[in-house]
Subunit: 308 residues, 2 copies
């Protein structure tokens, strides 16, 4: 197993904009993805938790992905979320992503039933891999126990790597528990481990981590990329401190609505703030608060000129 270099770095779990009728807005979506790449993202992860991915329909997901590739985004930088409670739907989404040429997929475990055994989860992934039946498939496991409840134990990760060394190539660790990330890094050198927050970016890189896949890459990719590129520089800890402080300031607010409010503000496009139920948009006063707080305390602003 050799680490797939294409995804090393800074990956944004792309926010999903919605139109007035509540449908995903392909035009805003493509523009956001182009801007994220211009800001320094090395990869894009559509349909993650931040993307309201599980609130989207099967067809909506496939159409959005096609809109990105059709719009000129290199499919090799795409790592769409294709996990599902449903084995059948996971196969449909994963096969579609592979057929489009996506460099990888980020897969949740089936998360409805809470008593899933290690053997049952292994079998789920084995069946998806067999169902897709394509050597190009590269799976990144999506470990996010605070939301999915069902996660990947160190033992299950080991069994998946052992059984599918050319297919199961990495993991996003959104446990928020550095000890867990460190344990995976120590157990599986060469396995591409991405902390789910830039808070652990530098510590991750110093321990063989592959970068980070983080919600806040939607608004601070450039600063995160700087830490990634210069992690051995003398000021790395200071720069890490800055991105950590910004992340912590943002996550004091409901994350998805807050990120959308920031983009809506700096794009001057109020429609960007829309979220899909069960989420609710940030109330105006709270949106104003996050914008001011970040501007005042972190000198934060977004510049969309370079993608125009």
């Amino acid at each position: 197993m050799t680490r797939d270099p294409q995804f090393a770095g800074v990956i944004a779990p792309v926010l999903t904009p919605f139109g007035e009728d509540g449908s995903p807005d392909g035009e805003r979506y493509l523009a956001h993805c182009q801007w994220l790449m211009a800001e320094g993202c090395t990869g894009l992860a559509p349909f993650g938790t931040t993307s309201e991915g599980n609130s989207l329909g099967l067809d909506e997901r496939m159409e959005l992905l096609e809109a990105l590739v059709g719009g000129g985004i290199d499919a090799q930088v795409l790592m769409p979320g294709t996990g599902s409670c449903s084995l059948a739907d996971a196969v449909v989404l994963t096969r579609h992503a592979v057929d489009l040429g996506c460099g990888g997929v980020l897969m949740l475990p089936p998360f409805y039933y809470k008593a899933a055994s290690e053997d049952g989860l292994l079998r789920f992934f084995a069946d998806v891999i067999e169902g897709v039946g394509d050597d190009r498939l590269k799976i990144y496991l999506y470990h996010i126990p605070p939301v999915a409840q069902i996660g990947f134990s160190l033992r299950l990760i080991g069994r998946l790597i052992e059984e599918f060394p050319d297919t199961v190539v990495g993991l996003k660790d959104s446990s928020g528990d550095w000890a867990n990330t460190a344990a995976i890094l120590a157990a599986h050198p060469g396995f591409a481990v991405f902390p789910g927050s830039e808070v652990f970016l530098l510590e991750g890189l110093r321990n063989g981590g592959a970068g980070c896949i983080s919600a806040t890459c939607n608004v601070s990719a450039a600063a995160i990329r700087h830490v990634y590129d210069h992690w051995q520089a003398g000021d790395a800890d200071a720069r890490q401190g800055e991105i950590t402080a910004l992340r912590k300031a943002i996550q004091a607010f409901p994350m998805i609505p807050a990120l959308k409010a920031l983009i809506a503000h700096y794009r001057g496009d109020s429609g960007w703030a829309r979220v899909r139920p069960p989420f609710e948009a940030l109330p105006a006063a709270q949106a104003e608060q996050v914008i001011r707080l970040l501007a005042d305390a972190h000198n934060f602003r977004l510049d969309f000129a370079k993608a125009a």
Copy 2:
């Protein structure tokens, strides 16, 4: 709001049989549903938790439902699960069920995000109802916090009934907490409340409950129906004691694999025992154990002659 009489009684969340290739088996499925109706079910709830419903694909669910209606099952007795984390998929499944003429749908709340607000959940259902846009739609809320984590608070139930009195007409309470069921019954007379286990059938009926929707109706519908039909008879408590004891004996085993093992055994059809990952079939020794235990201690057997 008047209670919809068609679903009052005994409803089975229908088990889903799979073929050798792992796909749902429409032929076994139809035969099982016909047998359940012959055994005394008043309604059928495909794609519930017991049905491995969330492990099925969108297309698989729609095809199975069409197989039932095409096979002669009266659509009015069907209450398929059409809830989804995805608003778009929930609309697709619900509209399909209404178009087929299903008497109702049993809807989970969107269960991926764990911090959903009451307003956000209300909006989700409002959007589904508007998206389906059909007066025939009758929604039964599916409250199962041990699995879905996200549930329906008494307040949210009240708001949904108030806003959609002709559409949100009932609830399945799989909390396992009789106090919760009793509180809903007391707060909303006329709302069709089904405990999620026959253990609470008699107590439910004495407090205005509508019957029960229970996993074990897949194997003991006749005895449960007897309690339902004769709940005011002198021996009602004794008969309730029998169905409670049987239920408790079965639920000491992994429920879904155990129910499938029982049907496989008494049908002499080993393929019936198949489950979809992340579930695992009951090991042979455990299957033998549940069959023997029920036969010896509860005089339990299944008779498929009448549906042949």
